[in-house]
Symmetry: D3
């Protein structure tokens, strides 16, 4: 089916975590759709292209984050630690950092945020369960706990201050699924882009939690309750199945990483 | 995918509200599928074509309605007031009127009715919620209240007398979606026809409530519980998205019509 | 357990249906707790006692109802037809009448209403089912349909105008249970009074639906979701069980009145 | 959409009921995908092709069943009585038989079983209801009761011994839908094969119950909770609709077979 | 609170399993309330008292069971194996036996049965979960599987033939709770009697599943959905808590019997 | 009803926050039930009584917390900030602090923790809603967010390391209810003690969330799902109702503190 061209986004958008894997994917796609894209990261960023501003920033630096959001109309927040790490790193970047971001949004009147949450918020569900966003959280590590923190913080900023957020519990966003688990969790870059665009253009999102997966035949997550976003993924892990299954013909059933949705995260740590 | 030709309907069908917007759409489509189509309205109707009978009727006229249903095998009930109006008009046409219709059906042994209910039965849900037909009603005005009345009345006529009804909570049925809200609520004419046909030909419908929307990417309503009807919409508002968003680039977030599913109905009235 | 004295009610209360069975029970009990009790009915009323006003009124008379609510702070609405009757009587008193009442409340700024709904809103559930207020309505006749109408209307007046209502689906409120069905449905007069008082004094009720039954051992209705009202019935049908069972030793299992919660209502009518 | 080639199955698979309708369909399809297919039935079987072993066996013969599973890595259990019959036949083949099968699996360390359960486990739901696998069972006869037994037994073998089972409540698997009921219940042979393959290759299935129906427009069963299997049916009864409706234009609404999902099974018996 | 005397039962009642632990408890209590109590068991029974008949019977003997039910108006079915045993014994007494019983009930027109099911139908839920009768079954052994079979069979006999059954998933019915687990599962003999009486005298029970536990402070089972039975347990394990905890001060957390609701049943077997 | 003496607790218990309001209440009650009570706080503590150890400790000091848990068998964690405060204070004491606590528990093999969570985790639900612990969190401020963090962290420590926690969302624990809101939220000191004792002595608690309220007639929270704890509150706010209502006769309906469950917390802040 032929789809219409995607809509334009708000005029001035902040993209945090712009030097990361998904940040580099989204940067040119967002730039093409808005008036000004401000990109930020703690790591080194490509120089600003036309229509861009580059603003290095550490999320735990409250004043810097306050300055970072000035003049923005929306935020795509990918910043922070995105793997399982010792707690202290996550405490700074993902907990203090996300607080700084929302507080800055409140002060500057930013009304819409796309928050890159994670499937690891519910990583301790089994791979033979299909859950939706109302299932009680079962984080699989520090990272997942910090993403649950961000979801709850953004819920508060909506209930108290009216700032709308889409929390996207992203599965595995890579060029293609790499292993058996990703047959379920894969989110193509195009579907990721569609999700960000829908989240920023839907008239009303309130506080919405949605799982970020493509239209995979194998799925653990049900997004029926988020259909108001106007997002329907177009890609699927299915064409990659045969290759993936050939590459990983056996499953070790004694490995918790094979049993739980969070995969290897569920057995990372303790860090001592 | 190539679809089979649609099935024939019951032989003799009454279409009320035949002079209205949807009545004019359905009239030729139903006529082509049944032996006799009796069309009725309080407004002026086109003369009878072959296979048609034209019977003007005011729904609040009990005797007239009793006569209207004589000999019919099924009813497609679009009649009555279809916009928000002062209560008295709605009391007559939509409340007394729908009672007259079901009582006539009972007396004449009519066993299957398609009742044009409305999304305004649940218009006070927010646009960031996805509901199904079991969600408690939250009507957004006199019109929505009257449609809830019809749904409850028809539930009684099923439980007590076995008359089956499909209550279709129609969204916005127009040639194309006109505004951002209709990206969610649009029901194409073809999908409307498919819904009426499925409702009249399914072997068993009992008392079913279904939302009338096309296969839109943005959706507030979940029809999983009505899949027994055998209705799957084929159209979508998505091809119209870019044009609609260009035409209505901004949403006024202080306007309740932008926040609630019922749109402008939620702020119509009071009438004094 | 010793209970504290019950709280005072709003200062000026309107009691409709004051000449009916429950109206005569509640009249002195409410009068003792408020500054002014305005009592009204279409039937003849006892003369005004101290602290009372007597205002005869037909509910279908819109202007009279408008006058009736002037100066009131709360309404206990028992008025209208309370048995299964031909539709036209119910249409006037219970449908047009309840609309007149809410419209008058809106115009006069009355903020809290106790609406005497009925178990007949869900009378077509079976006697071996336990339901709560979220179960889809299954009215057992014109009366039940009209009460569902009042519930939906009051939902609208809350969502649109902020008028709070407690809809009490009253079971069988009599001095004692008279038959086997009432072992489940009985509501003692004291528990009824407690329910009205709680409904008028709870700080926030929004739009609440609650079933009106005493703390009976046999029960078809679950009020867990209405515990915010602060109502806990103190009486029980259990002490009457032996006498009731002796009086009605046999159940006719072929009688729908024995099978459905609505009892004899489910087989009253049709009226022709 | 082009789909990838299906994955290989476990190396050594037992197919019971291989002489029955579905057994004959699956036999060549499974043989083509595994190293060794052992086929078994109480009825006469075609001679072994290459890559096959033929082992006649009566399921009620415990020792024979124990021998039958030796060396197997997975079982596709279609064996037993598959129509409504007097209880004693079903007791032997379907109750004692399935116990023998699971006990043999436990002793031989077989870890994955596809169990052909049946829609008749829930055959007493109405045709206007859409249910999922959590709906309480309502079997429509001895056959349905025996299949519920197998589901419960396999649940125990998973909870206690870790043997994983997919219980597929197969609808009507035939070359094409034969009547109006099968528009809802039809499962194409290709979709059946896809279901068996997915059930045997998914990394984790635990104890999963799934309904076996194609992607039919009319549906009574919701498989959302089994999406982790990685099964998405590709066929549909819809292209056959016109022919089926022409062949069976009328429904006898007084026949329980027309009202309940189980069809004619609901009125088979009693056997005396 | 003072309770009324309990109601009389149907005139002629069959009690199976009358020689077992609970049979001996119920025998005199039922005899005192009905015209004729026929008691049966495969084990030796006390001689008939006045108002009793003693009829030895093996449940797997179909003809004998058919004779056993002749002339009865209700059955209290405690018969069969009541502990975890090798499958064959359970297959005969509990599976073939319960079929024989229901078939005899159908032939003789018996309309009401109390079926002693067991908490072992759901014994594989954890002790930190609170479930109700809609939770999917998770039997903990052959015994639990056979009781689930009886529940499903009785559901069929209700849906097909209108025979009503109360399936009571009895916890631990002893003079007093013996261990920590029984603080949750204990059912006093008086509460058991009340449950049987309520099950046989409630006007409508359809097919009801209820857990048999006293009003214990610790509870794993929620009977809200069975309040229509008119059963409210009066006793509690709480007064025995201190003694039980003193007797069993330690819990072995590595023992599955300490973790799952079924207690030691979950680790009985395999039998080889 | 006479209750049995309460059971003994684990031998060596750590009580954090022992200098706070609830800490001072629980300290002597716990000391009387265990072998050794180690009490800790950042504020000044009463000197150690017999059977006590006093260990001052700041929760954000990881090494100090590690030492604090050495040799303990259970923890009652009341420590940290317990009112709404600027984020930084809460980040240290309640977020870093609770992480330190659980990490110390993991290292020392402590298996059971009572975590004083708060009703402010769900403070943005309305006062006319009754919720249970599965309702999605809606924290009303930094404090509520930090308690949700602790709940999620403890869920992880259970799923990953098997450390059991009871998260008690305490309402308002004071000598008596002080205002209208506390008629719903009050938790008597005796009921608090019962809850702590039940949480530490129940054989299996897994990860349980329970609301801490007495058996109040007005209630917003449903603890049915936590009945496995063996906790049944014995007190009620009802005897205080008349005095409370006399003291606070009017509710300001324009004040969010009157509308939401969190009371004044919902309008505290922003802190700038």
């Amino acid at each position: 089916m032929q789809h219409a061209p995607m809509p334009a986004l708000p005029g001035r958008i902040l993209l945090t975590g712009a030097a990361g894997g998904l940040g580099r994917v989204l940067r040119p796609r967002l730039r093409a759709r808005c008036d000004l894209l401000r990109v930020s990261d703690v790591a080194t960023l490509e120089p600003a292209a036309e229509g861009e501003e580059v603003v290095p920033c550490r999320l735990e630096d409250r004043e810097a984050v306050l300055a970072l959001l000035e003049g923005m109309q929306a935020v795509v927040h990918l910043g922070g630690v995105s793997t399982e790490q010792p707690f202290d790193a996550i405490l700074q970047a993902n907990i203090a950092g996300v607080y700084n971001l929302y507080e800055a949004a409140r002060r500057h009147g930013v009304r819409r945020i796309f928050f890159a949450s994670s499937n690891h918020v519910t990583g301790f569900y089994r791979q033979d369960e299909v859950i939706d966003a109302r299932a009680p959280v079962r984080p699989d590590g520090h990272y997942g706990i910090s993403k649950a923190f961000g979801e709850n913080l953004s819920r508060f900023y909506f209930d108290r201050y009216g700032i709308e957020t889409v929390c996207a519990r992203i599965g595995s966003s890579f060029p293609e699924p790499k292993d058996r688990r990703m047959l379920a969790t894969w989110l193509s870059y195009d579907d990721l882009e569609r999700l960000v665009v829908a989240s920023l253009t839907a008239p009303v999102v309130g506080h919405t939690i949605v799982y970020g997966l493509s239209d995979n035949t194998t799925a653990w997550w049900n997004n029926t309750a988020a259909r108001h976003l106007g997002w329907r993924p177009q890609d699927s892990s299915e064409p990659f199945r045969a290759a993936v299954e050939a590459r990983q013909p056996r499953i070790d059933h004694d490995d918790p990483a094979s049993l739980y949705q969070g995969g290897a995260f569920v057995r990372t740590g303790p860090f001592e």
